[in-house]
């Protein structure tokens, strides 16, 4: 069982890295990766929100939507309602009980509501390959949590690596017609190339 969890975690974090091999949450990737403080803040906020959101959506799906048979077409608005409500709740809680943390990652919390990664992780924590609708396997609660933690770890890992690269790109001698965003994309492409090499970890 622990081996299965470890493989699930590594698979979600490195092999199927949500940012670099699946292209989810790219807007935040390029928007937040300007400086290291914002990148670290965003990664922590995503980790926090994703874990809570996935647990809540798993519970809502398997206890309310699926027994009523409306899961197939109602999951989009239902999950988003839950995620948006949770983010608001977490924001209020942090503001009251941990003002330092609130000001460190406060502006990112509303941004995460519409972060593709949170919705994608939430829907896939319910059923892997959910959108193909033909996978017989469903995640248990523990597997859902481990999978989500893996996705968040992979997101943070890729974001921080890319931010470090981008901070150095600022002072590197880049050709003038490629300066700025084009060069960032090409660098992201090279980083993604590196992650493809991870695809053969553990002979998977």
């Amino acid at each position: 069982m622990p081996m299965q969890f470890a493989l699930l975690f590594v698979g979600a974090a490195l092999i199927n890295n949500i940012l670099l091999t699946r292209f989810i949450a790219l807007c935040s990737f390029f928007g937040i990766s300007n400086s290291m403080e914002t990148a670290v803040g965003m990664s922590l906020a995503v980790l926090f929100v994703m874990t809570i959101a996935s647990s809540a959506t798993w519970v809502f799906y398997y206890w309310i939507l699926e027994p009523l048979g409306v899961g197939e077409f109602l999951y989009i608005p239902a999950f988003i309602l839950v995620i948006a409500g949770l983010v608001q709740f977490v924001e209020m809680y942090l503001r009251k009980y941990s003002p330092g943390l609130y000001h460190a990652m406060g502006i990112f919390l509303p941004l995460i509501t519409t972060n593709c990664a949170v919705l994608a992780a939430a829907t896939e924590a319910v059923k892997p390959g959910f959108f193909k609708m033909n996978m017989p396997y469903s995640f248990g609660f523990g597997e859902a949590i481990v999978y989500t933690l893996g996705v968040a770890a992979g997101y943070g890992f890729a974001l921080i690596a890319f931010t470090a690269l981008r901070e150095r790109l600022d002072i590197a001698p880049v050709p003038s017609w490629l300066e700025g965003t084009p060069m960032s994309f090409i660098t992201a492409g090279l980083l993604s190339l590196g992650y493809i090499g991870l695809g053969s970890l553990f002979g998977l």
Binding site: I64, L68, A84, Q88, M92, Y93, H103, I171, A172
Partner: protein, 301 residues
């Protein structure tokens, strides 16, 4: 159209919606936070650059500290007297004087200083300082890759055509970020002088003058002409380097006129071209302006 399915769908989504609404309503009541409105107005009065000169990590924390009484009204050195007065007005207390300081660069080399190797890595002073101690032959001079200009939150530093940073005295607030960022700032290359201090000695090298002339044509040669010319006894040659005592300096400029190397300068002035051309003076000097600096042209010597 299966009415039961529609009813189930509506019921499920409504149930989820109601649950989320109840959770949010209770949360907004239980987690209500009282915010002192004065913090907002003090925050609006502060410059908002989050420079850290006051010792607080951000302007918001500084505002909270000032309102709570943990920081004095003139905590924000970057804002200057105007901000201190504004904050005092908001809190209804008396204002205090703010000590003004500006950043000064003790190097006049740039194009007139020789480089020991050609460097083509990251265009950053901190980066080049890690490569064999930097490409500048002088061990105490300015590399000219512009880290100070990039880090200044007030846009007060710009790189001129000599490859040296020029501080705009009207914008410099004395936050000291450039001193911390410069790899040689702690060694005296960038130092904070009083706001009224105009005279700057453009040399920071502690080598013997003969060695200095080998690698820079703008160095201080410790001839003591400035010391003799000063009417206020404000400039002395200590350890073979001219040093200005800002307590006594009146800014009369006698030393500037008399220095044979044109090494003493007025702060914040951008020279159109170096005082000495590269040819003729010091055959061992072959300086250039680093390419890719913030506003420098890519010209080789």
């Amino acid at each position: 159209m299966d009415p039961i399915l529609v009813a189930k769908a509506v019921g499920a989504l409504s149930a989820i919606g109601v649950m989320v609404a109840v959770m949010l309503a209770t949360a907004s009541r239980r987690f209500h936070v009282e915010v002192d409105p004065r913090v907002e107005s003090v925050l609006a009065a502060l410059p908002g650059a989050n420079c850290g000169a006051c010792g607080n990590p951000s302007c918001f924390v500084a505002a909270a500290a000032i309102v709570a009484g943990n920081a004095p009204v003139n905590a924000c050195t970057a804002g200057g007297q105007a901000v201190a007065d504004a904050v005092a007005a908001i809190l209804g207390t008396e204002s205090c004087a703010v000590a003004e300081a500006v950043s000064m660069r003790h190097c006049g080399g740039g194009r007139a200083a020789s480089r020991s190797f050609g460097y083509s890595g990251l265009m950053s002073c901190a980066a080049v300082a890690k490569v064999a101690g930097g490409d500048l032959t002088c061990p105490s001079g300015c590399f000219g890759y512009g880290d100070c200009a990039r880090v200044c939150p007030f846009g007060a530093i710009s790189m001129d055509s000599r490859g040296l940073p020029v501080v705009d005295l009207s914008l410099c607030t004395g936050c000291e970020l450039c001193v911390k960022e410069c790899p040689r700032g702690g060694a005296g290359l960038l130092h904070m002088g009083p706001g009224s201090g105009q005279i700057v000695v453009r040399c920071n090298s502690h080598d013997k003058p003969r060695a200095r002339k080998d690698y820079c044509s703008m160095c201080c040669i410790a001839c003591k002409k400035c010391e003799k010319a000063c009417p206020s006894d404000a400039i002395h040659v200590i350890d073979l380097l001219a040093v200005v005592d800002y307590e006594k300096c009146t800014g009369c400029g006698q030393c500037v006129a008399v220095c044979p190397q044109e090494c003493i300068d007025l702060s914040g002035r951008e020279r159109a071209q170096p005082a000495h051309s590269i040819d003729g003076r010091g055959s061992k000097v072959d300086g250039f302006v680093p390419t890719g600096t913030v506003s420098g042209d890519a010209e080789d010597a």
